[in-house]
Amino acid sequence: MPNAGRPMRAVVATLAVSALALTACGGGETAQSGDVTLTINVFGDNFSLPDNRTVYDEYERTHPSVKIVENRSDFGTHHKNLQARLTAGNGAADLEVVEVGQVAGFIGQPDKFVNFRGEGVDTAQWTDAIVARASTADKDALIGLPTDIGGLAVCYRTDLFAAAGLPTDRAAVSALWPTWKDYVDTGTKFLEKAPSGVKWFDAGGHVFTGILGGEKETFYDAGGELIVERNPAVRAAWDLSVKAIKAGQSAALPEFSPEWNTGFQRGQFATVTCPAWMMGYIQGNAAETTGKWDIAKIPGGSGNWGGSYVTVPSQGKHLKASVELAKWLTAPEQNVKLFKTIGNFPSQQSTWKTPEVAGFASPFFNNAPAGTIFPDSLAGAPAQVVGPESGVIGNIFAAALNSVEQGTSPEEAWSRTLADIKAAAG
């Protein structure tokens, strides 16, 4: 699932949900002795768009003794709170979602999670790489069940493309950028005739992440060693992102901030690096732009960004019921349904060929065949190596590229980035 959140909305939602949780606990426990209330902590657009709990309602219908209370916060807060509550040994929800970039940070604490290896889960439904990422090095413990996978594409505004004299048909648009360099060159062409105030993309950090989404090794090598500084792929991605920023292509909207949300509504940028879960963000942030979007191939042809796992912290009081819910939430049927409603793409490869998935076209995105675009982007995608601080390093790069957008010299930003990474992960 998604890679982030809507901070302010999330704060309000958190308050509201905790109030609900309090009242729910008060009333629920005495009602029937067999009843359990399961809490689930999610971030961003996991499992639903805001205020939509269809998936939970369905589970409650088939399991009348279970009540599900969801608590949604933004990406950073969510993972920070989870770590704090694991360390404290108390306070975690019955189910906690962990994003793929963050999961490596939790692998070192396998005793704090239920091991799904002993819970009758058929791990063969996922690729080895997906399972390995949430497993300990010896493969004895699997701490999370995969929900969705990102894949990669580019979502673009057909109306803005037309205004700037670019093709709008998705095949012709995909042909504009076989490589990321072509993508940036097209941006320059776009800006020549773009409506005033409209930029090529939302944030330099998203271009950077998109470029690296097609690389096998980015911040760590397969041996687990930190290689940011000497990995030419990272430096190349940085240089190209900086080049695009310097060409004035970035709307410089900090990723997942309220201003970034506004940017979607106001049409401040024409393209955005688009993993499947980004479809949910766009629909949630700017429902009124329906029909103006389309989806083209990612430069380079393949890549992945994001995906999530559902974990069950072992400190929970209802482990059996929680494991059951986790298995149900990550089952192919639910993943397919979520894909069709909000865009999060199923992690089970077996589902990709089913007509339900393969034949799905999103009306919001001009009937773009999302059901084939995302599996195609995953077909050639390498199994990415992530390390314990991959998430932290990604955020440092995002902030650094934002500082370049704000006027800092790229060389200074680069050297600060390396220093920060050394302090945080070295």
Binding site: A4, M8, V11, F75, G76, K80, Q83, A84, L86, T87, G105, F106, G108, Q109, A252, P254, E255, F256, S257, P258, E259, T262, G263, R266, Q268, P388, E389, V392, N395, I396, A398, A399, A400, N402, S403, E405, Q406, G407, T408, A413, R416, D420, A423, A424
Partner: protein, 315 residues
């Protein structure tokens, strides 16, 4: 009979002993809840933080909790440019917010001290920003200081070539954060000043006006000197508050790693502590920052206190 007398005597002795015990021990019992709570929620965390600060504990590195690294965290911290930067940011924002905030509070209190119509409403009104949650205040100010569709930039439009990116520079981000802090605390300080102003005897003003002193002179020569102890109190409290500034920069920040601006433009000490501790999972280093901040606060509070004593004794 004799047995009865002895028994009642024994009871008397017991009673007087109880009475003595009551007088000597009870006061301690009465104050003990505070000290017990302080020990649990104040002393213990303080001591435990000190212990953590001598480790390289990170939850992402199993087994790192118990390995002592001595004072390494502190030596790293003193050479850490990001910490120096946070220190400067904290002091800068502190000056930018404390000064205007106290001056404004003094002025507002002075105005509220007049016999105005509906002054109860007005006096309660200045407290409204204080009772509003900081999160709500930040939500509004984030929009007011937004780069693209913000209110301030809309007003500045005729005077500026391009909209100001408030988070991009130090001066602008400090200003935005300081405005939030000032908005939140001015009313609170104004009420404290107002309470103190009402204890100033009215005869002083009366005789001054008979002597021909203007309103301004009265304010400057009667009100302000009489408020001296109160002003000192508010300066000390605001200074300590400014050193621990967190919520406003935290909520103004748009980065995902609590960086306090893309280049730590407005990262305060506590925000840096939060980033290192929670975002980067460096419990040991974060604890060292916490203890260093504690010591800085103690030193600054002590200097404040000494200055305050000198000022009030020279009066």
């Amino acid at each position: 009979m004799t047995q009865g007398v002895q028994r009642s005597r024994g009871r008397q002795r017991w009673r007087s002993r109880l009475h003595r015990l009551d007088r000597s021990v009870s006061p301690y019992l009465y104050v003990s809840p505070f000290f017990l709570l302080f020990a649990v929620f104040g002393l213990f965390p303080l001591a435990y933080t000190a212990v953590i600060s001598t480790t390289a504990w990170s939850p992402r590195k199993p087994g790192s909790a118990d390995v002592s690294v001595g004072l390494d965290n502190y030596t790293t911290l003193f050479a850490d440019e990001n910490f120096h930067n946070a220190l400067i940011n904290t002091l800068g924002i502190g000056l930018l917010s404390t000064g205007p905030q106290l001056l404004l509070a003094l002025g507002i209190a002075h105005l509220l001290n007049y016999r105005l119509r509906g002054r109860i409403v007005l006096r309660m009104g200045v407290l409204l920003p204080y009772v509003t949650s900081v999160a709500a205040v930040a939500l509004i100010f984030n929009q007011i200081f937004a780069r693209d569709f913000g209110l301030v930039n809309w007003f500045l439009q005729p005077f500026a070539d391009s909209p100001i990116d408030w988070r991009a520079d130090e001066w602008s981000s400090w200003t935005a954060v300081a405005v939030m802090v000032t908005w939140h605390w001015t009313g609170y300080n104004a009420l404290i000043y107002l309470a103190a102003m009402q204890t100033i005897p009215y005869d002083l003003y009366e005789s001054a006006s008979i002597d021909g002193a203007s309103k301004w002179q009265q304010f400057w020569h009667i009100t302000v000197p009489s408020l001296r102890p109160t002003i000192i109190f508010t300066v000390i409290v605001s200074t300590i508050g400014a050193l621990q500034l967190f919520a406003e920069p935290f909520l103004f920040d748009a980065t995902r790693n609590n960086n306090g601006g893309s280049q730590r433009q407005f990262q305060t000490i506590v925000l840096y502590l939060y980033q290192q501790f929670w975002t980067n999972g460096r419990y040991g280093y974060g604890a060292a920052i916490a203890w260093t901040l504690f010591l800085i606060t103690v030193v600054i509070a002590a200097i404040n206190f000494l200055l305050a004593r000198r000022i009030s004794s020279t009066k």
